[in-house]
Point group: D2
Chain length 144, copies 4
């Protein structure tokens, strides 16, 4: 159980460091971690029944309030990784997801978090978006 009292499922998102994800220092270019965290968050949603198709159909979105990441060990091309994501906290209209990135040998590479709003487009992608109270039914889907 985390500080806020929510006992979250943990989702696993597999990824790999590609040549083009690395910089001239020969290690991962750090925005790559944020791309992974975003994709991992969408995969987490999909794992509980809210896949991309449903999110589109129901005009749902989850824009960011903030994001942060600590870089623990430099990843290199060819490193196979997993991002473990869990809900740290549900607020009224927002939620916090924490992400831990591990190399497949267990080495911790990075850990970060995203604070997002649960939002709905008025009439489809590109139109005005408003934050929604997160339904209890949705929260329940993430409970371990």
């Amino acid at each position: 159980m985390n500080d806020a009292g929510f006992r979250s499922k943990v989702a696993a998102f597999a990824c790999e460091v590609y040549w083009g994800d690395c910089d001239p220092a020969g290690i991962i270019f750090y925005p790559t971690y944020f791309r992974w965290m975003d994709a991992a968050c969408w995969a987490f949603l999909a794992s509980v029944g809210y896949d991309a198709r449903r999110m589109r159909a129901e005009h749902l979105a989850m824009p960011l309030v903030s994001a942060d990441c600590q870089f623990l060990f430099p990843a290199q091309q060819g490193d196979r990784c997993v991002v473990r994501s869990s809900i740290a906290r549900f607020g009224g209209k927002s939620f916090v997801v924490t992400h831990e990135v591990q190399r497949d040998d267990g080495m911790a590479l990075a850990k970060g978090s995203e604070t997002r709003v649960w939002g709905k487009f008025e009439s489809g992608p590109g139109t005005r978006m408003r934050g929604q109270a997160i339904p209890e039914e949705l929260k329940a889907l993430f409970r371990a």
Copy 2:
């Protein structure tokens, strides 16, 4: 006048090679050129009166049919460049844009082309998109 008989304006799009655009070989990661070509094409449209705001308001889009690029000289971080874009050909619903990328000292870095459809979303971004006959008025805007 190019092969197809269209004498096009030439637009200039300024860009720079950033650290994160380069790979472990210390040179530009090649998809960066395609990102530049895409941005240069939008800037070209904007320069003749079709900026992002108008494209959105009129539900216009220009999806790709194909793209290609030749890489002539390896660019490095800090290289300031310009992409010179021109219309190679207008078809019925499609058009071809050629792009030449030069470093600011005149060194040719890359040259490529994009074939695009002139399209319209049925009711805004994300909805079904259909190719449109390119209006003569639009073509005229690109004439040198």
Copy 3:
């Protein structure tokens, strides 16, 4: 057997269209395909014994001469795909890889090619790189 008489192995590289790979039209931003083709090419090399670690250790690189892609059908977030890569042709110091991108239901999304040089850094990444005659032993590894 392809036109040039080289009967190539075919490698399969799995990938997925993420939220951040898509543009405001709700479909894949096209440079994503080139990122995939690059990663697929590295994976192809790895599959025959030249993984990232070995490429680094032996100071090997494979810079691009050109790349092209045709976009056949618009991919959307959540589409699971496979890139099938094969050697179209070996030249003296260069080679051509073709890539076919399919959605997991078999829909053809894109097909493209990369022409690359087989190169070696004089003394590690970032140093001067020279094209190398492609060893027959290397070519043999790709033979079906």
Copy 4:
């Protein structure tokens, strides 16, 4: 003068939101801000005499310890922006850069920070990198 007592210069880095920087919600895909912050940090270094060429020649690097960003207002394609960067704090071998992203009409879009190590490659990019005590002469270059 900031909390840590360092009165920093403020560098301005111009950028623009491109089509490919945006996601299906029609707004900026958030890792773009981190790409900008990284580029802005390199530009800040360049502005005080440490450009990419010099960084390469002297085997210098500035790997990340952590990064964070708050997203204040959604940016759209075509928004012209400036990232204002300043040194928040110099530690022994690390430093903190803060970045404020504004749209050209003054709208605050995002603000974030990067904590970096001042590092040196043992023998060029790709080789082992070690943190270095930040020279007082370097710190002085950033003083307002």
